[in-house]
Amino acid sequence: MPPDEFVIDARELVRDFGKARAVDGVSFAVAAGEVFGFLGPNGAGKTTTVRMLTTLLEPTSGRVVIGGFDVDHQPYQARRLIGLVPEEANIYTELSAWDNLMFSARLYRVPGDLRDGRATELLRTFGLHEKRHIKAQLYSKGMRRRLSIAMALIHEPAILFLDEPTSGLDVQSALAIKQIVRELNARGTTVFLTTHQIEEANQLCDRVAIINADRLAAVDSPERLKQTMTSVQAVEVAFSGGGPRMESVLRRLPGVTDVAKHGDKWRLYTPDPPALMPLLFDLAGQWELQVVSLNTLGPSLEDVFLRLTGQKVGPSAGGNGPGTTGAGKPGRGELRDV
């Protein structure tokens, strides 16, 4: 893609806080209309990077260009293109949703004749219209986050920065925000999303950058990243019965590198799932068992992350294993600090 189609271009970004290096030589480019995920554990440098991209923090070295404007020399022009939703909803809790939006509209120089219409539209979209005149201090965390996003959209930015948009939210609020991100992107807004939720990045992003220990480990689409992990494939099988010896029998099957029990299912790690499947049927016949279910599983984004960060991939890694990241269960599919 030619460079002039990039709306975010970060080159060799470095940020030091005293002697500690928070971001170390990060480079990436985001194309117009992309949902770009910035994925990494807490403390990896995601928020620091966003603050540098949005002119809030001066890089120690490196360069950021937003929509063709160098943020160091043309911050005013760059700011007119962006909306920022930080991790903590930075709304004015003493004001109502309506007043928060009206203030944002004035701050972003939305013409007076458009303000009411846009605010009403956003409040309806974000499910806040009924409570628009109630002070925001009475809102739930999800409502505050939605108001924060609405405030960032009042001037219809071409690029929206979302820092951990669903962190700490209930499932319903998180789903609503993901849906809003999809709809915004469908209408042409470029979205830069930081998250430590692997499944969120997997579901939303066209491309992800994996940042770890202040450095970029990889930048690519989720599926292409997974394809690089051919060694982490598995077959998941459930039998109608079995006994205490089942695990040792499964481990002795040709091509099986590891075995893990997941509820009533056995997950067998192998570089060649098709070759393993007939062996499992043979085994079931010998033991007079039925195969209740049989699935092949590819590598997950979490596996990719674990490999890129030099951690063990597979059943002992503490994650969900291949292809099963997230699934909405509390605490699963989240990156651990490394």
């Binding site: 809030l56 001066e58 930075n90 405030m151 071409a158």
Partner: protein
Amino acid sequence: MYETTAARRQPEIGVEGPLERLRAEAGQALAIAIKDVRVYYLTPPMVMFGLLMPFFMFFSFSVGRGMGQEASLARLLALTTFFTASSAGPVILPMERRVRTFDRLLVAPVSLISVLLGKSLVGTFFGLAVAMVPLVGGLLAFGVRIADPLLLAAALLGSSLAFAALGILFGSVPAQNPGSIMMPSTLVRWPLLFISGVFIPLREMDPWARALSYASPLTYAQDLFDYAVSGAGVQGAGLDLVVLPALLALFLLGALKLHGLSRRMGY
């Protein structure tokens, strides 16, 4: 779903003229000021340091000391504008930094000087409003006659603006806890109060104390209020009228430098 199209987005970036930009920035500064008035007026720190402190100081050091009504009014006006106008910055800025609402202003297409001017207007409005209490009381209840009403208006506006900018300077020190700013700022304001001509009139000061008094912004406000209320200033109203706007510019410049430091430090 709310609709965005490329055509509706920021078509005029980089093509607006200086006058258009100036008008827009003035509107943004005013929007910031009005928002802050609604959010922060009557919060406990503002009431404590801005509303009660000047009256407490006045009654502690002035009542029962045989001062004339005009001198008392001039002193009270200087005290109220000084404490009240300068109380907003040390409350608002650290609080906004802590809850990250200040980031909302910094990431908006508005210059930092407009943001700081908007914040200065908050203290200015506060100082002017609270100063109306002794002024109206003095005029109506005690029948004080103002020697130069126009000069009084200039003194009220000039000192409120300068002291509000002083508060912004304090509030711009890179810190996220209001307590880390408010108490030290009070510790700075008190010495400025005592070396000024508020409690010991300038004409009664020893030469060394008089020389020291020039270091306090309050000296110029007090002198200007003396001229305006009783016509009995010391330094020359012209000097006061030049120094107060110069202090406004100096304090805002200092605040800009501190915010530049914050951006480099990461606050």
